[in-house]
Subunit: 215 residues, 2 copies
């Protein structure tokens, strides 16, 4: 099983599917399942480029397949949040790191979050994602108490924005309505505009890809 079949250099450097899923097969299945949530094993097999029998050899059952993909996605989410270290440093920069990290994840995980998901996670991993979410809520409160973030934004709403705008960004890219770079930039700027107090906006910077500067 080869590595990423074609991974040209993308200026935005989204995480490659292989950094999220253990397998090229898992990655392909996830990609197809994201845009066809009710796909049959037959269909998934074709998407992976393998026969149905081999797909069953790799994943004992359809439920196992879904479960593994959800596991991988959740692990990647937790890892991204932890690596962003939302509790460290100035809230504005911490926010930028979080958005950057999760934004890179969006194209890969994206619509997968729409699967039932929660039901398929081990308890331990579920606890880890809950803890990651709690860390993000704490970041919001920390920024508010420090006077950086708008106090009227409920941390819960921040989580909702983060989740669904990631989905929206991934979906826009999939439909060809936005480029990956544009989607990522818009995601970042929208979250910044929603959360930051207006006078803090100019302190918010993300690593913007070189080819898509403002306008």
């Amino acid at each position: 099983m080869s590595n990423a079949p074609a991974s040209p250099f993308t200026p935005l450097r989204p995480v490659s599917p292989d950094q999220v899923f253990v397998d090229a097969a898992a990655a392909a299945a996830a990609r197809h399942l994201a845009l066809a949530p009710a796909a049959s094993m037959q269909e998934l097999a074709r998407a992976v480029g393998v026969s149905r029998a081999t797909l069953f050899r790799r994943f004992p059952s359809r439920a196992a397949l879904i479960a593994e993909l959800c596991q991988s996605a959740a692990q990647a989410y937790v890892r991204a949040v932890n690596e962003a270290a939302p509790h460290d440093g100035p809230p504005t920069q911490a926010l930028a790191r979080v958005v950057e990290g999760l934004g890179r994840l969006a194209p890969v995980v994206g619509l997968l979050g729409l699967q039932t998901l929660g039901e398929h996670l081990e308890a331990s991993l579920l606890a880890q994602t809950a803890q990651a979410e709690e860390e993000l809520r704490r970041l919001v409160r920390r920024g508010q108490e420090g006077g950086y973030f708008r106090v009227e934004v409920d941390p819960e709403w921040f989580l909702a924005m983060l989740t669904w705008l990631m989905v929206g960004a991934a979906d826009s890219v999939r439909l060809g309505r936005l480029t990956a770079n544009a989607a990522h930039r818009h995601l970042s700027e929208t979250l910044a505009a929603a959360l930051l107090r207006p006078d803090e906006l100019h302190h918010f910077t993300v690593r913007t890809p070189p080819d898509s500067r403002r306008r």
Copy 2:
């Protein structure tokens, strides 16, 4: 088949399901289908409070059921956009009307948009939704050219935000993480913050429900 089983006065006055769906049965089916996209007819029937046979008498087939719900949701969407008259008056106020109207729709339509949807719409209705989207894009461009909206926001991204934040708002309410009022207010303010130039923000007002004033 009674009317809305219990429709207490809600301060936010979201549109009642009966303003969107032709039936109480359709409304109940839509509600259940939104959070269980793969629900069986048996399950749907229980959600509607009717036997499976009766459900089949009301909807000739499962596909017909899905199609009707999508039709209704799309019609409500088109109607809401038209009533908001995005082409009239100052862009900032037009935006407020759009967000207000669609925000009221979110709890009802909400997750239904996640269904395959597009495949189940008649061509004429599909054209109407496309036209509604085009009107919204025009509103964005109009606001940008008039100096009200931030020029770096792609109209396409505005549509994505609108769609997915509506879904996120509906989902947050469903999970009990936000009240309907809070979700609606956050939706409005996030879209305003994302789209309006900072110096225009104070001109943006939505009809805020009386019980949830700022903080």
